[in-house]
């Protein structure tokens, strides 16, 4: 196809698009509820947040050996629940889905070797799973959470340590 033919096709395309646009504008004028052409008010759009939660790895109680010394346990429940009993050696980081995790806490957990962090929460909303997801989203590698949370731990008859965090 030579240049002249290309120019002709482009001209025809412009004409076609122009005619169709004119038809659209005309139809908008005659329709019962025309759309205002220039609307400077921002549209009320619902723009969902990008996916935050990167999946953390689930882990059942029976997959855990009796020696927990290699693991860093994080308790995501409220401080009162932690005080009434927690997995021995666990650290309390109460999780509130409406509040951002403090940057120093993330920074501290980031220094833990990948695969050693195990988060657990309560049975109902499974705060452990949510916190583990949040930590994984923050870029921490190999974060795991306990399926069924502290309830599953207790049910399995594993040892529980009382008392608030020192």
């Amino acid at each position: 196809m030579n240049l002249k033919a290309i120019a002709k096709r482009l001209g025809q395309t412009t004409l076609l698009v122009g005619a169709a646009s004119a038809l659209g504008l005309l139809f908008n004028v005659v329709r019962s509820h025309p759309l205002p052409l220039w609307d400077y008010e921002a549209h009320n759009i619902y723009k969902p947040c990008p996916e935050r939660s990167v999946a953390a790895t689930p882990m059942a109680v029976d997959q855990l050996s009796s020696d927990l010394s290699r693991l860093v346990m994080v308790d995501a429940r409220r401080p009162e629940a932690f005080a009434s009993g927690h997995i021995p050696g666990a650290r309390s980081i109460p999780y509130d889905p409406l509040l951002p995790l403090p940057e120093p806490v993330i920074g501290e957990l980031r220094s833990i070797e990948a695969g050693r962090l195990l988060v657990y929460g309560d049975n109902e909303i499974d705060s452990g799973k949510l916190l583990a997801g949040e930590l994984a989203s923050a870029g921490l590698l190999g974060v795991r959470f306990l399926i069924g949370g502290f309830g599953a731990w207790e049910k399995a008859g594993r040892s529980v340590e009382p008392g608030a965090e020192r």
């Binding site: 004409l15 076609l16 646009s21 609307d39 759009i45 969902p48 990008p50």
Partner: protein
Amino acid sequence: MNTNWRTALLVLALPIRIYLGLVFIWAAWYKIAQPQEFALSIATYDMLPSAWVNALAVVLPWVEIVTGLTLILGWWTRPSALAISGMLIVFMVAIASALSRGLQMSCGCFASSEAGEEISGATLWRDGIWLAGSIFVLMLDNGRLGLDGWLARRRSRHSNSRIS
């Protein structure tokens, strides 16, 4: 390219042309019926200044429906295919941009933002296949199996009768 090949490609282009035309007419239908919904879909892509959104929502469906019709009829076949290719490229850029920004949203292609399919890599692939089809029509279909061909034959008969 020999004549047999050219005829085979022309025959192959015909169903592609009709399919693409129907897709674009179908796509335009809800947009013309519910311009506010379509404007909202455009706005959700967050690529245009707010002031331009409504104008595009008014004009674009008509460009789709007119080019879809002319493509099916085989009238101004190549300009129609060129316009459709252009639109598909713009749609693909918009979808790719929305995907890269992590937006979870409806495509706004065939239905309102609430009822529509969510954009994904598959949406991009689908548009890519349609783009390949429209480029195929653009390159190889001169509209001989349509109004373009009929008008050309009519013109040639007229000029022949004038000469004789």
